[in-house]
């Protein structure tokens, strides 16, 4: 039990949180919190968490072990994992081991409540998780880490995106062909599409318009992804040319880039939405339901063109959760209909895309 409080989260704004270091390597990233009760493995492998240190409000983590099948991509993307208590008994410490095996720093025994209130009131700064003997050492290490990591490549989507085209066979021979523009896609978007399509082609985020069109897709999916949507310049231009030509469905980052391509503006939210309990009013399915959310940016409603209607709202703060234009046949959804983690009620939007927007089965 000789417990050592030798791990630190140092925020760029100066606040320090002391906890127990469980291994991994020291890393820096934007510090964000997620209120989902379960789904740590899905979150850690979600590319949208690139360059982010994730703070879990649910205090007990790692309780149900690990499961390869739930990975949302091929790697762990988070830069750090922070919680109150990590499952670390003799019998089961699989999640702890997996994180540290992947060199992700893990801090437990952190006063996450205080940290979350700090993030809520002051926004989400960068921070670093370090292993240090004292506060001074922690501060020095953190400063360096934050400096050297924060200004690399701006287009994070490009980092998270596949660099090669990937073809997948769908499970519905009578379904459409869908092109996916990969901004750092969660696997379950692809799984949901596979169920409903005959063929999927997944393109890197900077793919050329001609390459995409050469596949003759019936519809385009713009996926989730990390970072600031304004940095995604190539795809924005590509999408601008596709609007009106072909049905487009954007999720999260895809929704934001779609908004930018329409001429709207996006803005960084104070601390974003991350959790599995956000109520959404869905004007397309005509329901109110709980959703899975993970975004730090949003589309500014006032800047959307007049023929694009805001059809989905986050009922907690009335922000834009989705827009639709029947003329242009485009749909943007800010949250995650693919769930994982989170509730499944919004799966119907995939059906809407395939059946109503793409028009399959014909």
């Amino acid at each position: 039990m000789s417990i050592k409080f030798n791990g630190y989260l140092v925020l760029e704004t100066g606040e320090i949180f002391q906890g127990v270091w469980h291994g991994g390597i020291e890393r820096a990233g934007e510090v964000v919190f997620n209120t989902s009760h379960s789904g740590y493995e899905e979150m850690a492998t979600d590319p949208s968490y690139m360059k982010q240190i994730i703070v879990l409000t649910a205090p007990m983590q790692g309780n149900y072990g690990i499961e390869d099948k739930v990975w949302e991509s091929k790697r762990i993307w988070i830069e750090g994992f922070i919680c109150v208590q990590i499952q670390n008994t003799v019998v089961d410490q699989k999640w702890k081991k997996r994180l540290t095996d992947y060199q992700i720093p893990l801090l437990s025994d952190i006063d996450t409540r205080k940290l979350v209130l700090r993030l809520r009131s002051g926004g989400t700064p960068w921070g670093a998780i370090v292993h240090a003997a004292d506060v001074l050492e922690a501060q020095q290490k953190a400063k360096k880490l934050i400096q050297s990591n924060r200004d690399l490549e701006k287009d994070w989507v490009w980092i998270a995106s596949r660099k090669e085209i990937e073809n997948r066979k769908g499970q519905n021979p009578k379904g459409p062909r869908i092109a996916v523009l990969d901004f750092g896609s969660k696997e379950n978007i692809l799984r949901e599409l596979e169920k409903r399509t005959s063929e999927l082609v997944i393109f890197p985020s900077r793919s050329k318009l001609e390459d995409i069109l050469s596949f003759k897709p019936h519809g385009i999916m713009l996926t989730n992804g990390p970072g600031d949507p304004q940095d995604v310049e190539v795809a924005r231009e590509t999408i601008r040319q596709l609007i009106g030509q072909i049905p487009i469905f954007g999720i999260c980052m895809g929704h934001q880039v779609l908004g930018l391509a329409l001429g709207a503006k996006t803005y960084k939210m104070k601390f974003g939405h991350r959790g599995s309990n956000h109520p959404i009013q869905d004007g397309i399915l005509n329901e109110i339901y709980m959703t899975s959310q993970n975004h730090g940016y949003a589309v500014d409603e006032k800047t959307l063109p007049s023929d694009v209607k805001v059809t989905h709202r986050n009922l907690n703060d009335q922000t834009v959760a989705g827009f639709y234009s029947s003329e242009k046949n485009i749909l943007g959804i800010q949250y995650h209909p693919e769930a994982c983690p989170g509730p499944h009620e919004a799966y119907g939007l995939f059906n809407f895309f395939i059946e109503k927007m793409v028009g399959f089965p014909k």
């Binding site: 039990m1 000789s2 417990i3 919190f33 209120t35 989902s36 009760h37 379960s38 789904g39 899905e42 409000t57 649910a58 205090p59 007990m60 309780n63 149900y64 499961e67 739930v70 109150v84 208590q85 499952q87 008994t89 003799v90 019998v91 089961d92 025994d109 006063d111 996450t112 409540r113 205080k114 979350v116 209130l117 809520r120 959790g275 599995s276 309990n277 956000h278 109520p279 009013q281 329901e287 109110i288 339901y289 709980m290 009922l315 907690n316 703060d317 769930a339 994982c340 983690p341 989170g342 509730p343 499944h344 009620e345």
Partner: protein, 1064 residues
């Protein structure tokens, strides 16, 4: 859509008296719903037969009816009130069943009344297991293999087919009543008979066993547009096989992955939609196979429930309130989240803490009933605790139980105490690890999910290392121990120090808990709701408390002898303090209560009621003082420790409490005042007792020191029984803890007096005359106000004496006195310097705002500040009778004979224009059938035969036929009374019990004394308990029953609403 404009007036059905399986959680939900609907401008009519509730306080609804929950009474109330709708989903199964019968009898239709929240179809779909299984089939949900059994023969065949063990679930019963697990045909056959008997529709679902599966529950809500939210997920530590009400449970669930959890959530949504629940709350129970992950649905309830109360307290989401608003037409997104004030109620709470619930049991009250848990609920109360981690919350909950100060005491480990679920299993789990047993062993014995076992094991390993760690680093080791939830008392035991040393060491090193807000959203949104829990894991979030503030200590888990009536006092006390400009800090650990609703007090602290926790609260919240007199015995027991630590007591001081509570002091005081008290003595062993017995005289009443609810109290008649008593209770008696021996005033009339004393005033709230003579615990006696047998002058004498006693004790605030009257002499039996069990009944019967006066007394108000002339209890025009309900049925080997040890779980109130009407209502509300004809079986002890002769003759005149055991029959024949003579059980068959079991007897009068005679007649009473046949074991009860029968034979009765409480 906003609320329905066609609704102006609604009627809410309460849940009746507290019984095992249906307790004060429905007071909480009903009260919350009433408040919500009243603030919507609706007229709310409330019907409930339980006087101990907050919801039956006249202020809670537009009009309150304390009337029997029967179709006849409801018909009358609907006729008077003509509401547009009835809400049946807030009063448990009682209210649902009553609603069904109102529907079936056409009463709703007659009064053009609709059911809101759940339609008869929904109620049936959830309760009728066959209908429910059809629904599950339609949504492709799985359930255990089972069949509905309607006859014994069919059941036998099915048993052979499904194999053992088997689970029996009778249709339409409460808390799994009449059900159980059968491991062999020998066990199965009698259980099947009983279960068929128990179901009002004679239907029993016989089910393949899912013993050892993991058990989960989802608390869900839905509005009329179909928006669906899960308020809380709950995971049972005890696997399937133990009723969920008897299981230790944890929220939110801890061991399901998101994939598994979402799949369960999807299934719950589908089931709810298919059942057709239009709006409101429901719970759905699931079982998950520990290795394959296969999932089955166990059951669903389309109403608020015990677990929804728990879920509300665990999350801060007020399920009952929202359910009420949804019922009148709102959508979830139209209702604001009370806690954040900025977000809507259509969301799922996110928790950044862990909640543990532990049930509390009363097996010690029912000797002969084995302490083994099964599918039939046995617990009488529960505690909840909140911590940042599972360990912290579990350990806090164990302290909150008030069973042991350390929380996890050392016990004599026995494997069967782990492998057979029982009320103390959790202690033995800890002990198993202390003895070095492996997680795999304990898992094999228990099938408890290893995750939980690991957590417990880790605590034990920590405890083992604590002494050496403490030597190395006292600060860090103490802090870690507190983070893991160890009580100071336990740390002291482990370190071989005193609790005070630990506390001092902790305080010196500034190790204090912090207080975090329960905000429904894990900190995501700002909230100002003052609902807090303590933890050693975080920094505090408390803003300075506005003064003056007072800390009110609740009554903790419900138990026999201390229940909902003390919550009434606490809640009313909070309101009374608020009216006088005080801020209130409510502390309690019982999730079923109104006092732990976040909008009852200005600050709610969900904490164990231990001196340690209360002192920490005082350290941060800085109240001017604390009030111990509302929460029953619990706060009184810790008052001195709080005062010693400089927390001032408000109301009666420690000296006054001690004068009343300490029997030596109290007897001395009485003697000084010239008051008669029963002759008494104390003996630490039998030899000492033998020296005293001639002086005290037989019969005498014996009990160990420091008891609540008359635990181990017995009346004994002679030396043999005296010796037997000392033998049987040896472990509770010692020279340090002597046995109290009191003269027993056989045949005396007993009364309860509740009064309030201020600086220069005293108000008598009322004198409740017990219907049963001395010897029956006051909590188990029926009572009547105003007294019916007491002489006017005796009554006056009692008033004078009571006031004098209050003055001499120097109580400030409440005083409850128990007196006995024999041959016009008044004896003082007991004084309780606190609000009492009878107080809510008295206040409602007399309209005197007793608690408000108690608060006025605590605050030092003078006679001139109060309208004392208004409070004259003898002005009361209506007659009120207190009825009592017992849990004998749930404890198979228990005897329904009444004695000095309290056994009842709840009470009812019958109000009438005269005694007979009030009695009749009280009996009906207490689940007595009132047979208007048929055979009465009589078995009387010798000394009752003559005095009861008039009563027996009366029975004949009323048209009943008689049967009796040979002795009584001969006596009656000699008196010229026709009577069928039956064999006693030991005289061979067919005997009297056979006749009762055949259903040929309408009711039974059976009086008996002495251990041997009591044992010999046990089967008679047990048969009655099993078959719901009234069995009157006291001559006075029998007389009262006859009065009620006569009234019932005359037919009609009236219902009337409770008048408002008089103003202060």
């Amino acid at each position: 859509m906003p609320r329905r404009q066609d609704l102006k007036k609604v009627l809410i059905i309460g849940s009746g008296p507290i019984v095992i399986g249906q307790a004060c959680e429905f007071d909480y939900s009903g009260t919350q719903a009433c408040k919500a609907l009243m603030s919507e401008g609706l007229e709310v009519i409330l019907v409930n037969s339980n006087p101990a509730t907050i919801m039956t306080d006249p202020e809670i609804a537009t009009r309150v009816y304390i009337e029997p929950l029967t179709p006849e009474a409801l018909d009358k109330i609907l006729e008077i009130e003509k509401p547009q709708a009835v809400i049946p989903t807030l009063g448990g199964q009682t209210a649902l069943n009553l609603a069904l019968s109102l529907d079936e009898k056409g009463i709703l239709k007659k009064h053009k009344c609709i059911l809101l929240g759940a339609t008869p179809e929904v109620i049936k779909a959830a309760e009728d297991r066959e209908l429910f299984r059809n629904i599950l089939d339609q949504v492709h949900a799985k359930y255990p293999q089972s069949e509905m059994v309607r006859t014994f023969e069919q059941g036998i065949q099915l048993g052979d087919k499904l194999g053992y063990p088997l689970i029996l679930r009778p249709n339409y019963t409460l808390g799994g009543g009449g059900g159980g697990i059968a491991y062999s045909p020998e066990e199965y056959h009698p259980m099947l008979l009983e279960a068929l008997n128990e179901s009002p529709t004679s239907e029993v679902l016989v089910e393949e066993s899912i013993l050892g599966w993991k058990e989960f529950e989802l608390e869900v809500m839905r509005d009329h547009t179909g928006t669906f939210v899960v308020i809380c997920s709950i995971e049972n530590l005890d696997p399937c096989g133990v009723h969920t009400g008897d299981s230790i449970t944890v929220a939110p669930q801890q061991t399901l992955s998101d994939v598994e959890y979402q799949s369960m959530r999807d299934e719950a949504r589908k089931i709810l939609n298919k059942v057709g629940l239009e709006t409101g709350g429901a719970n759905i129970q699931f079982a998950v196979h520990p290795t394959s992950g296969a999932r089955v649905v166990i059951e669903m309830n389309p109403r608020v429930s015990r677990s929804s109360a728990l879920a509300s307290k665990a999350t801060g989401f007020p399920i009952a309130k929202i359910a009420a608003l949804l019922a009148v037409g709102y959508r979830l997104d139209e209702i604001q989240n009370d806690i954040t004030k900025t977000t809507p109620s259509c969301y799922e709470p996110a928790l950044d803490y862990v909640v543990t619930k532990i049930p509390r049991f009363a097996f010690e009250k029912f000797p002969g009933s084995p302490d083994i848990l099964s599918t039939q609920m046995k617990s009488v109360g529960e505690v909840m605790a909140i911590g940042r981690t599972f360990q912290e919350s579990l350990m806090k909950a164990l302290q909150a139980l008030e069973m042991d100060r350390e929380g996890i005491p050392d016990v004599n480990f026995q494997v069967d105490h782990v492998s057979y679920p029982n009320s103390k299993r959790i202690w033995h789990l800890f002990q198993a690890f202390r003895h070095g047993h492996k997680i795999s062993d304990v898992f094999n014995w228990t099938q408890i999910t290893p995750w939980f076992l690991e957590q417990i094991d880790e605590l034990v390993q920590f405890e083992k290392e604590l002494p050496s760690q403490f030597k190395k680093d006292s600060y860090l080791s103490l802090l870690q121990a507190k983070k893991k939830g160890f009580s100071d008392a336990r740390i002291a035991r482990v370190l071989k120090m005193s609790e005070i040393q630990i506390r001092q060491s902790r305080w010196k090193q500034n190790i204090h808990p912090s207080y975090l807000q329960v905000d429904t959203c894990a900190g995501e949104f700002d909230s100002s709701t003052p609902y807090f829990y303590s933890t050693y894991w975080s920094e505090s979030q408390v803003k300075p408390v506005v003064q003056p503030a007072v800390m009110i200590i609740g009554s903790g888990p419900n138990r026999i002898g201390q229940g909902i009536e003390f919550d009434y006092s606490c809640v009313r006390g909070v309101k009374a303090f608020q009216k006088r400009g005080w801020k209130t800090i409510m502390v309690n650990s019982n999730p079923e209560t109104v006092s732990t609703d976040y909008d009852t007090a200005d600050y709610l602290l969900f904490e164990p009621l231990t001196a340690e926790c209360l002192l920490e609260i005082a350290h941060v919240f800085k109240p001017q003082g604390f009030v111990p007199q509302f929460g029953g015995q619990t706060p009184l027991n810790i008052a001195s420790e709080l005062v010693e630590n400089n927390l001032p007591v408000m109301g009666s001081g420690l000296e006054a409490i001690d004068r009343a509570e300490d029997r030596g002091h109290f007897s001395k005081l009485c003697r000084e005042l010239g008051l008669q008290i029963p002759k008494a003595g104390m003996a630490g062993n039998l030899q000492m007792a033998f020296k005293l017995d001639t002086e005290i005289g037989y019969p005498m009443i014996l009990r160990p020191s420091y008891v609540l609810g008359g635990r181990r109290m017995e009346v004994i008649e002679n030396r043999d029984e005296l010796a037997s008593y000392f033998e049987r209770h040896a472990e509770a008696i010692s020279v340090d803890k002597p046995c109290l021996m009191d003269q027993f005033l056989a045949g005396a009339l007993e009364v309860d007096v509740d009064l309030v004393r201020g600086v220069d005033w005293t108000v008598i709230g009322g004198v409740v005359e017990h219907i049963e003579a001395a010897g029956v615990h006051s909590g188990d006696s029926m009572g009547v106000l105003p007294p019916q047998r007491l002489k006017q002058e005796t009554c006056e004498k009692i008033e004078v004496l009571s006031k004098k006693l209050a003055e001499m004790l120097d109580v400030v605030g409440h005083l409850n006195l128990q007196l006995a009257i024999k041959n016009d002499v008044v004896y003082v039996l007991e004084a309780n310097p606190r609000s009492s069990r009878s107080l809510p009944f008295v206040a409602k019967a007399t309209e005197i705002p007793m608690i408000d006066l108690g608060v006025a007394a605590c605050l030092g108000l003078k006679a001139q500040d109060l309208k004392l002339q208004n409070y004259n209890w003898s002005d009361t025009k209506t007659v009120s009778v207190k009825g009592v309900v017992f849990p004998f049925k749930k404890f198979p080997q228990s005897d329904s004979i009444l004695g000095p040890e309290m056994k009842s779980t709840g009470e009812t109130m019958g109000r009438g224009e005269d005694y007979s009407e009030a009695l009749m209502k009280a009996f009906i509300s207490s689940f007595y059938k009132l047979p208007l004809e048929g055979e009465v079986f009589i078995s009387l002890r010798e000394k009752d035969k003559e005095p009861m002769l008039p009563l027996v003759k009366e029975l004949v005149l009323m048209g009943y036929t008689l049967s009796a055991t040979s002795g009584t029959a001969q006596y009656l024949a000699a008196q010229g009374i026709e009577c069928l003579s039956l064999k006693k059980v030991h005289e061979g068959r067919p005997h009297c019990v056979d006749r009762i079991r055949q259903g040929l007897v309408s009711f039974v009068i059976n009086t008996t004394t002495g251990r041997t005679a009591i044992e010999a007649s046990f089967d008679i009473r047990r048969a009655c308990t099993n078959l719901n046949i009234p069995c009157l074991t006291e001559s006075d009860t029998a007389e009262a029953f006859l009065i009620a029968l006569k009234k019932a034979k005359r037919g009609d009765f009236k219902t009337q609403s409770l008048p408002p409480m008089k103003s202060v």
